[in-house]
């Protein structure tokens, strides 16, 4: 999928992944790849500015935990505001998707004014 097209929806994609439960950056990226069947394949680093921006906007909360490897890991979770925001974005996306879908529908007959 086109990178620029994807970037425009990255906030929503990240929020959608985190709506399933808290996760760290690597897990978020892996989940995006898995759920999209590999179609969303961005440079992995692109997700981190998004996570930090959503945290700054109050849509995500982050906390440091110790991973099994002993390394410190930053885990993100949705805030109430994030859940609300995702709901709103989902509704807008559904509307948009329906509208574009009906434009692409084949088999519709229309007559040219010419």
């Amino acid at each position: 999928m086109e990178g620029e097209m994807l970037k425009g929806h990255l906030d929503m994609i990240v929020l959608a992944v985190l709506s399933s439960g808290p996760a760290h950056g690597y897990a978020v990226i892996e989940e995006i790849k898995r759920r999209s069947g590999g179609a969303f394949d961005l440079p992995e680093g692109t997700v981190y500015p998004v996570l930090h921006r959503l945290e700054e906007a109050g849509l995500l909360a982050a906390r440091w935990v110790s991973a099994d490897s002993g390394r410190r890991r930053r885990v993100y979770s949705m805030t109430k505001r994030g859940v609300r925001e995702l709901g709103e974005r989902r509704a807008v996306w559904a509307q948009f998707s329906d509208a574009v879908g009906s434009l692409f529908k084949e088999g519709r007959s229309w007559q040219s004014p010419a």
């Binding site: 990178g3 970037k7 990255l10 906030d11 760290h24 950056g25 690597y26 961005l42 440079p43 992995e44 680093g45 692109t46 981190y48 500015p49 998004v50 930090h52 921006r53 700054e56 906007a57 991973a67 490897s69 390394r71 410190r72 890991r73 930053r74």
Partner: protein, 237 residues
């Protein structure tokens, strides 16, 4: 065992690219390092060095990633400066009230304030109220802005507006603090001098320090906005 260095070099470079925000650089460095090592351990190939190289290549260009963090850093700093401005105005108010309470408690006999004192008192009052309203306004303004994915011209304009409001609030606060200094000098000039007069003097010094701190903080934000803008202007991944 993988040759050490590929990942550490990468995170070092990323941290250098993020040097416009030291605390963000520390946080991102640790986070990215964890990410890259996890990618290495998930790599099915046995070649550790190759896995490190692949993890770094999949992560993207550090410069381009740092450029995407610019807007996060500016938003964070802007909110901090806005909140700091309110804190400073509150601290000046407390110092002002503490001084007046001290005058009343000590029944401190003051020198004649005269017409000059009256005029300065009016300036003090209006300037302080102006700093409160504009300071609150600047904080509410920056808090209500949506943080964009990149440093857009629109967000730059919003940051410039916010900084302008901050400077107006600081200017008004500065005028109020100077007026406080003049009023304190007028009061003390006619009164008795003793060790106790250190109390009002210290309270004025606190006000000056607070206003000075605010100026430094807004100046830092102004410079950061300009320098970070140059980094963000580089092409994205």
């Amino acid at each position: 065992m993988a040759e050490p260095g590929v990942i550490s070099e990468f995170v070092e470079r990323l941290a250098r690219e993020l040097e416009f925000d030291a605390s963000l650089a520390r946080c991102v460095r640790q986070e990215v390092e964890d990410h890259l090592w996890e990618a290495v351990s998930a790599d099915p190939t046995a070649d550790g060095l190759e896995a490190e190289r692949r993890a770094v290549a999949n992560f993207g260009d550090p410069h381009a990633i740092a450029a995407q963090f610019v807007v996060v850093s500016l938003a964070k700093r802007g909110r901090r400066v806005g909140l700091g401005a309110i804190g400073v105005i509150a601290a000046v108010f407390v110092a002002m009230k503490a001084r007046l309470t001290w005058y009343a408690a000590m029944a401190y006999s003051t020198g004649p304030m005269g017409a000059l004192g009256g005029a300065v008192l009016s300036i003090d009052r209006y300037a302080f109220w102006l700093s409160i309203f504009v300071g609150m306004g600047s904080w509410m303004y920056i808090e209500s802005r949506r943080i964009p994915a990149a440093l857009t011209p629109q967000y730059r304009t919003q940051l410039r507006r916010f900084l302008l409001l901050c400077w107006v609030a600081t200017g008004a606060l500065g005028a109020s603090v100077i007026s406080d200094g003049v009023l304190t000098a007028l009061r003390l000039s006619g009164g008795r001098w003793s060790f106790e007069v250190l109390v009002p003097l210290v309270s004025v010094a606190i006000e000056v320090a607070c206003a000075g701190g605010l100026v430094a903080s807004i100046r830092g934000m102004t410079q950061r906005t300009a320098s970070a803008g140059r980094l963000a202007a580089m092409p994205r991944v």
